[in-house]
C-alpha cells in the first residue's frame, strides 16, 4: 500500500495539448458522432448526414492541421519544428503535419468515392446488409428495400484517425494502438462489398488473420525493445541505442520483429502476400482508400520508428532493408506481368512502389549528411508518397466506372478496346499508368527521381540500379494495359463506361490533375516536404 501512497503523492494531472492535437480530436470526434448518427437518426436521412459529416470532419481536420502546422515552434537550429505532445506520446512535428495533410486530402477524396451512389443505381457500393447471406432471400430483400450500411463512414473516420496517429506516435505503445485503430476498421470495410461478396468476405478474413498475426510480431518486438531500453519512448530508446548498454540480442531481435509488423503494413515482400488478394477482393473504394492512405501512414511510421528510435543502429538494420527492398521490387514488378485482373495488377504495382519507397528510405540521408543541392531521404519519400497516393486513388476510381452486367469489369480482357468506347476514360487511365511508370512530366517521374537520387547519394547504388531496372520491367505491364485499351479490339460486348455522379468525377479529376501538376510543377509540394524538416525526438 505504501507504494500506492508514494505514487499518489507524486500524481499530477497530465498535460494534454488540445490545440496541437486538434486535428486528431476532430477526426475521432466525427467518428464517434457518426456512430451516434447511426444510432439515432432515421434511416432515410443517414446517408446524407454521414456523408456531410465525414466531409466536414475531414475538411475541419485539414484546416486544423494547417493552423497547427503554421504555428510549429522551431527546434534544433531550424532543421526541425514542432513539439512533443500528450506527455511524450505524440510528436507533432513537420513530418507529422505533412503526413496528416496528405492523409486528410487523400481521405477527403476517398470519402467522395465511398459516397458514390449512382454507379450502383442509387445505393452505396457496399453491402446492403452484411449479415444477410449472399444469394438468399434476405439479401434480395435488403437490396430491394435499398438498405445501406452507412456505418462505412464512421468506420472510415476511425481508420483515418488511426492513420494520423500512427506516424505521429512518439512511443511504441501509442504506435501499436494506432496500428490497431487503423487496421480494425479496414478489416471490416474489406468485407462489405455489395457484389462478389464471397471474394470480399474472403479478403476480409485473410487481411484480418494475417494482420493479427503480424501485429503479434509487432507487439513481441515492442516487448523486446522495451526489455532492452527500459522505456517505450523513442527518445529514450534512441539514447539507449546510442549508449549501447549491452544486451544487443534483445535490441536486434526487437528491431527485426518490429520491422516485420511494419513491412507487413507497407506491403513489402515477403510480407506482401495479403496485398493482391485483399486489394482484389475489397470494395474498390476501400481498396483505393487503403492503397493510398495506409501506405502513406505506414511509411510515415516506418520512417519515424527507424530514423528516430533506431537511427543509432542504422548500420545494423540497413542490410536487412536492402534485402527486403530488392525482394519487394522483384516480386512486385515481375508478378504484375502475368496478372489478368486490373485490381490485382494495381496491387502488385503498389508492392513495387513500396520497393521503390524502401529504396529511398534506406538511403537514409539526413540534413546533416547532405551537401548543397541535395534533398534528404525523408523529403524524397514524403514527396513520393504524395505522388503515389493521388495517382493510385484516381486509378482505382477509374476501375469503378468501367463496368458490365456483373458490376465492375475488372478482368483485363474486358478492358480491350476501351480507347474506342470511351476515349476520355481510357486517356485518363493511360496518363495515370504512365505516371506510375514514371514517364517525365508526370508525378511518378519526379517522385522516382527524388527517391533514387537520394538513395544514390546515400551510397546505395546497387539498390538504385535494381530499382531503375525494375521500374523498366514495371513499365511493361503498364504499357500492356495501354496497348490493350488502344490497340486491341473489344472482346464480345466490350466494356461499358458508366457515367458516375459528380463525386467520382471529382476524384478522378483531382487525381489526374495532381498526377500532371506534380510532374510539371512539383516545386511547391517539394518545398513543403522540405519545409517539414526533420523528425523531432
Amino acid at each position: 500500500m505504501s507504494s500506492a501512497a508514494v505514487l499518489a503523492a507524486e500524481f499530477q494531472a497530465p498535460s494534454f495539448e488540445y490545440s496541437l492535437l486538434s486535428p486528431l480530436l476532430v477526426i475521432f470526434g466525427v467518428a464517434i458522432t457518426g456512430v451516434l448518427v447511426e444510432a439515432f437518426a432515421p434511416r432515410g436521412s443517414r446517408y446524407l448526414l454521414q456523408a456531410v459529416l465525414a466531409v466536414l470532419g475531414v475538411v475541419g481536420a485539414l484546416v486544423a492541421t494547417v493552423i497547427v502546422g503554421l504555428n510549429l515552434v522551431s527546434r534544433g537550429g531550424g532543421t526541425a519544428h514542432g513539439s512533443i505532445a500528450a506527455e511524450g506520446a505524440i510528436a507533432v512535428d513537420g513530418p507529422s503535419i505533412f503526413i496528416w495533410g496528405t492523409v486528410l486530402v487523400l481521405s477527403l477524396v476517398s470519402v467522395l468515392l465511398f459516397a458514390e451512389r449512382r454507379l450502383e443505381g442509387g445505393v452505396l457500393s457496399f453491402a446492403g446488409q452484411a449479415a444477410a447471406l449472399p444469394g438468399t432471400e434476405a439479401e434480395r430483400e435488403a437490396s430491394t428495400r435499398g438498405l445501406e450500411h452507412t456505418e462505412v463512414f464512421p468506420l472510415m473516420m476511425f481508420a483515418v484517425g488511426g492513420m494520423m496517429l500512427f506516424p505521429a506516435s512518439n512511443d511504441l505503445l501509442t504506435m501499436f494502438v494506432a496500428l490497431e485503430v487503423l487496421s480494425l476498421p479496414l478489416y471490416l470495410l474489406c468485407g462489405l462489398a455489395r457484389r462478389r461478396r464471397l471474394l470480399s468476405q474472403e479478403a476480409a478474413l485473410k487481411y484480418f488473420m494475417l494482420g493479427a498475426f503480424s501485429s503479434g510480431f509487432f507487439i513481441y518486438g515492442i516487448a523486446l525493445v522495451y526489455g532492452y531500453a527500459g522505456s517505450m519512448n523513442f527518445a529514450a530508446i534512441s539514447a539507449a541505442v546510442s549508449g549501447r548498454a549491452g544486451g544487443e540480442g534483445l535490441l536486434l531481435g526487437g528491431i527485426a520483429l518490429l520491422a516485420v509488423g511494419m513491412m507487413f503494413k507497407v506491403g513489402a515482400a515477403p510480407f506482401h502476400a495479403w496485398t493482391p488478394d485483399v486489394y482484389q477482393g475489397a470494395p474498390t473504394a476501400v481498396t483505393a482508400f487503403m492503397a493510398a492512405c495506409t501506405k502513406v501512414a505506414a511509411f510515415g511510421a516506418l520512417l519515424r520508428l527507424f530514423y528516430v528510435a533506431f537511427g543509432g543502429a542504422r548500420w545494423d538494420w540497413t542490410p536487412m532493408v536492402w534485402v527486403i527492398a530488392i525482394l519487394t521490387m522483384v516480386v512486385g514488378s515481375v508478378l504484375a506481368l502475368s496478372q489478368t485482373d486490373v485490381k490485382r495488377m494495381l496491387a502488385y504495382s503498389s508492392i513495387a512502389h513500396a520497393g521503390f519507397l524502401l529504396t529511398g528510405f534506406v538511403g537514409a540521408q539526413q540534413v546533416a549528411d547532405v551537401g548543397i543541392g541535395e534533398i534528404t531521404s525523408l523529403q524524397a519519400v514524403l514527396f513520393y508518397l504524395v505522388t503515389y497516393g493521388f495517382t493510385t486513388v484516381a486509378a482505382f476510381a477509374v476501375v469503378t466506372v468501367v463496368r458490365d452486367a456483373g458490376g465492375e469489369a475488372t478482368h483485363l480482357s474486358r478492358w480491350s478496346g476501351l480507347g474506342k468506347e470511351s476515349p476520355v476514360v481510357a486517356g485518363v487511365f493511360a496518363v495515370l499508368l504512365l505516371g506510375m511508370a514514371g514517364i517525365p512530366l508526370t508525378s511518378g517521374f519526379t517522385g522516382k527521381w527524388a527517391v533514387f537520387t537520394t538513395a544514390l547519394a546515400g551510397g546505395a547504388w546497387p539498390l538504385v540500379v535494381t530499382a531503375v531496372l525494375f521500374s523498366v520491367v514495371a513499365a511493361f505491364f503498364y504499357v500492356r494495359v495501354i496497348v490493350l485499351m488502344y490497340f486491341s479490339d473489344p472482346v464480345g460486348e466490350g466494356p461499358t463506361v458508366a457515367t458516375p455522379s459528380i463525386l467520382t468525377t471529382i476524384v478522378i479529376a483531382v487525381g489526374f490533375a495532381a498526377t500532371l501538376a506534380l510532374g510539371v510543377v512539383p516545386g511547391p509540394v517539394l518545398d513543403l516536404a522540405a519545409a517539414a524538416g526533420e523528425f523531432i525526438r
Partner: protein, 99 residues
C-alpha cells in the same frame, strides 16, 4: 530472481502460437493461437517491467489486452460471416483469390 525463465516461457508460448496459426485449419483456433502470441508478449512485457522497475510494461500489457479484445470482436464478426456463408470455418476453404 532471474528473468530468464519468464522470457524463455514467453518465447515458448509465442512459438506455440505461431505454430498453431500455421497448422490449425479452424479459423477460431487460428485466432486463438494469435491471442496466445499476444499473451506471450504480455508476459514478456511484465517481466521486463519488473526487470527495469518501472510501470511502462504493465501499462502496455493492459493496452494489449484491450486491443486483443477489440480484435476478438472484429475477428469473430468476420469469421462468423464467412462461416455463415460457406458453412465452414476452415481457413483453407477461403481460397478463391489467388495467383
Amino acid at each position: 530472481m532471474s528473468e530468464t525463465p519468464f522470457i524463455v516461457l514467453s518465447a515458448i508460448l509465442f512459438t506455440i502460437g505461431c505454430v498453431g496459426v500455421l497448422t490449425r485449419r479452424n479459423a477460431i483456433v487460428v485466432f486463438m493461437c494469435v491471442e496466445l502470441m499476444l499473451n506471450a508478449s504480455n508476459l514478456a512485457l511484465i517481466t521486463f517491467a519488473r526487470v527495469h522497475g518501472n510501470l511502462d510494461g504493465q501499462v502496455a500489457a493492459f493496452f494489449v489486452m484491450v486491443v486483443a479484445a477489440a480484435e476478438v470482436v472484429v475477428g469473430l464478426a468476420i469469421i462468423m460471416t464467412i462461416f455463415r456463408t460457406r458453412r465452414s470455418a476452415s481457413v483453407d476453404d477461403a481460397s478463391l483469390l489467388k495467383y
